[in-house]
Chain length 489, copies 2
């Protein structure tokens, strides 16, 4: 009956794929590396999008939309950015098909419809946007520009996994323009905070806030702020980044403004984004071998009422009352009226889909004035008097949200290690995994040597790392604070 | 001071372009035929999207997301559809750039990164979606599938105009699958109704509901339902279409199901869509030589409060009270605190942007306990006692919404003609334009001949056309009802 899901213990990676496909979040597609986001997955994305969009708007941002295509000459203007994405972009070279003269009913690319200049399908939009900002900015009075865009982007990845790494993905990308460095850095930090708050308060996923090393920075950035979460297998997942871009794009696209001293200056920039990758993070952070476990604040459906063993008018009446009451409080709740499947089948289905709370209503229970309420995360069941159901469910949803966060935080704490010598470092990475806080000498050479030998990368230099004299775990050279190492998705 | 907008009378087409660019709805981009949708335009689109999305969900639809790219072999599977779009599609042929060996800092397409099979940037998604539905549908129990997608699409247009016809545009496309022809036709008609309701109730734009002739049908459809609106210059604009696709896509992609008689059958399909084109329709339906006129239900900002001549604490206090009250009723309202520009400048700006209601608050007015309220559509101003402002504004917003609809309907009535002979037909089209209701013999030859001689096309066969014996205005052959002719955008 239940759809077979590989257990986490036997094969974590297969467990993830099984879960994503069998719970109805996504499906494979006919296009290499691209997925279909199915209704259940898209509903989750809509909830995330709406909350983030609201957070952006409350901090003064507005949405806009820029073209999907970037002409090659613009794409290559900011050199580091171009170099960073050149190897993974889809390129439009023609604009017409024609009938294949040798194969009736088939089409071929019309060689006469070759573009004079190739178009890159955006892997990110700095180039096209900064080329536009040039026309919008003359003086400091035109600043700041605080724009966000919800869009699809394409990065030609060689190894893909649903949500975590796909050729096309959905995201939002903020692109702001400022009159000073200080203001731009403040903006980048503000959005970094928003991402951390979203991850912790809504996804119930604790994150480490930090900055990337020069090696791991976004191509074209002066500073990249990141939030890093731990998945259940101890690996790290980068869940959102915010970049201070300095004047790099302004210089590449000649975007100058007259400052309040009437002097010409290049504009300061930020960009920041999160993507459908967050859905992958959510799945890996909380779910179990029976299916998805979703934090109530994001679950498309929060409460399901299942009649036991099948629908009756009496049960429906009670269900309708509960629904009227809870949905008036903004709770997403449904009654399962299907009479073809048995309760056991339904229970498994809703567990697979990650509905946080299930209310079972049976004829016999009703006689006693009670219902059975089950929570998805711990699978605990409680018998609750009918007149207390509304209150109980409201509290339970809040409890589950908190419980998931606490559980994820406990997992992270249990799998975080301070390591001070190279042999222990290698051993921990190999046997336990998790997060390693260790001293690093600040050089790219050491960073790369560690990566080569252990596959662990510096996830970030945590913002709250305390100043502490030490020696680099690899080179023995002096260091002033610990950085976060981990294997990562 | 005011940004120069060409008047409608001197050049309607230029008026439209001026208005779109100067009111901040859109901007040109570096990509041929693609526009930038600026924050004001995007806010309008968000309002439209949210209302439509709600209408779709209330009728049982869910959202999903399918890949941007369509492999050529899938693209060509449904022959009519392929033929219809082959001449206007962007084609991805390569997936990597590399450094140009002859030109430092420049990039070229890497010839070694050529795709084995070209990818078409979706001009519409029937192909990729029906190829996916094949895996989702086995039995009648899997039906109906009622999915909608919000997405960008690309059609390589030779002549483009902002919103009305752009190479890339944003839209929604519904793709549903059904177990019977009757049910699929019902669905297509239901969505046709929703589009008409949206146009009339929210856009304040009366529409003629009808079906397209075979010539004008969507490529691959058995029947295309359309809503046609009249713009201020008398031309028609197709504002939304809903298609009954029969079993065409099911056959092309081998999508069969076991019906309730346990017999295998091809699935029945519909698709339906509206796009950012609606923004163009909205602009052309209501706006004037001073700027945008937006129906209150869709206006990003509904009420602006302007201090006269400049902000003071007293005025702010009154404004804050009005805002608290009206925004609690869901009205989008703002106070203009800027102290650099004079009221006259601000008035012109808000008129340009189409804010439906303006409240002017002056120190002297306050002494008398009144404010001045101006409506954007008629430019009428009224002095309103402070204690009646909230009520007055609420009623005024509803009045403006109704007035815009009535005015558009009057315009359409005044410019609709019943024509019974060919000379009059030609004369009306040439001198007056507008909608012509005339008899047509039902043949494509006549339809094309009329188009060639007058540029008028059959916009639709109106659903409410009464049976009425007549003779074709062009051929003199018998006809049973009038169809709607017009020049169109």
């Amino acid at each position: 009956m239940a759809k077979e899901i590989t257990s986490r213990e036997s094969d974590y990676s297969q467990w993830y794929n099984d879960l994503v496909y069998k719970s109805g979040l996504a499906d494979q597609s006919a296009v290499r590396g691209c997925m279909v986001i199915k209704p259940h997955g898209y509903a989750l994305w809509e909830n995330m999008r709406d909350i983030l969009d609201d957070m952006f708007k409350k901090t003064g941002h507005v949405n806009a939309y820029f073209p999907l295509f970037v002409p090659k000459s613009l794409f290559e203007a900011e050199e580091k950015n171009a170099e960073g994405f050149a190897k993974e972009c889809a390129i439009v070279t023609h604009y017409r098909l024609k009938a294949d003269p040798n194969n009736k009913g088939k089409l071929i690319v019309d060689p006469e419809a070759k573009l004079e200049e190739e178009l890159i399908v955006r892997p990110t939009s700095e180039a096209i946007i900064w080329n536009t900002y040039r026309d919008w900015i003359q003086s400091y009075r035109d600043l700041p520009i605080l724009i966000n865009q919800w869009a699809n982007v394409v990065r030609w990845e060689m190894r893909t996994r649903p949500f975590l790494r796909t050729t096309e993905f959905l995201w939002q990308e903020g692109h702001t323009a400022h009159a000073s460095k200080v203001e731009a850095i403040e903006e980048a930090e503000k959005m970094h905070d928003i991402y951390a708050r979203f991850a912790e308060d809504y996804m119930a996923m604790p994150v480490i806030k930090g900055v990337k090393t020069a090696n791991e920075r976004f191509a074209g950035a002066e500073e990249t702020y990141t939030i890093e979460a731990m998945m259940q297998d101890g690996k790290a997942l980068q869940a959102g980044t915010s970049h201070y871009l300095g004047q790099n794009f302004a210089k590449a696209f000649e975007v100058k403004f007259l400052n309040d001293q009437n002097k010409e200056e290049f504009v300061y920039a930020t960009s920041w984004g999160v993507s459908t990758r967050l859905i992958g993070a959510l799945v890996m952070a909380h779910s179990d071998d029976d299916g998805l476990v979703l934090p109530p604040k994001l679950a498309p459906l929060q409460v399901i009422i299942v009649p036991i063993p099948k629908p009756t008018p009496e049960i429906k009446e009670v269900a309708d009352r509960i629904i009227a009451n809870l949905s008036s409080k903004g709770i997403r709740i449904k009654y399962d009226m299907d009479d073809r499947n048995r309760p056991g089948f339904k229970f498994a289905e809703y567990e697979l889909k990650g509905v946080p709370v299930r209310i079972g209503i049976g004829a016999r229970d009703l006689e006693q004035g009670v219902v059975e309420i089950a929570r998805r995360d711990t699978k605990e069941k409680t018998t609750v008097p009918l007149d207390q159901v509304n209150e109980y469910v409201e509290r339970l949803l809040a409890d589950i949200q908190q419980y998931l966060y606490d559980r994820a935080l406990d997992l992270r704490t249990a799998n975080s290690h301070q390591v001070d010598d190279w042999n222990t470092f290698k051993e921990v990475i190999e046997t336990k995994g998790g997060f390693i806080y260790a001293h690093w000498d600040g050089t790219s050479e050491t960073e790369e040597a560690i990566k080569e030998q252990t596959k662990a990368t510096i996830r970030c230099i945590p913002l709250d790392a305390k100043e502490e004299p030490g020696v680099c775990v690899f080179s023995g050279k002096p260091s002033t604070r610990r950085v976060l190492f981990a294997k990562a998705y």
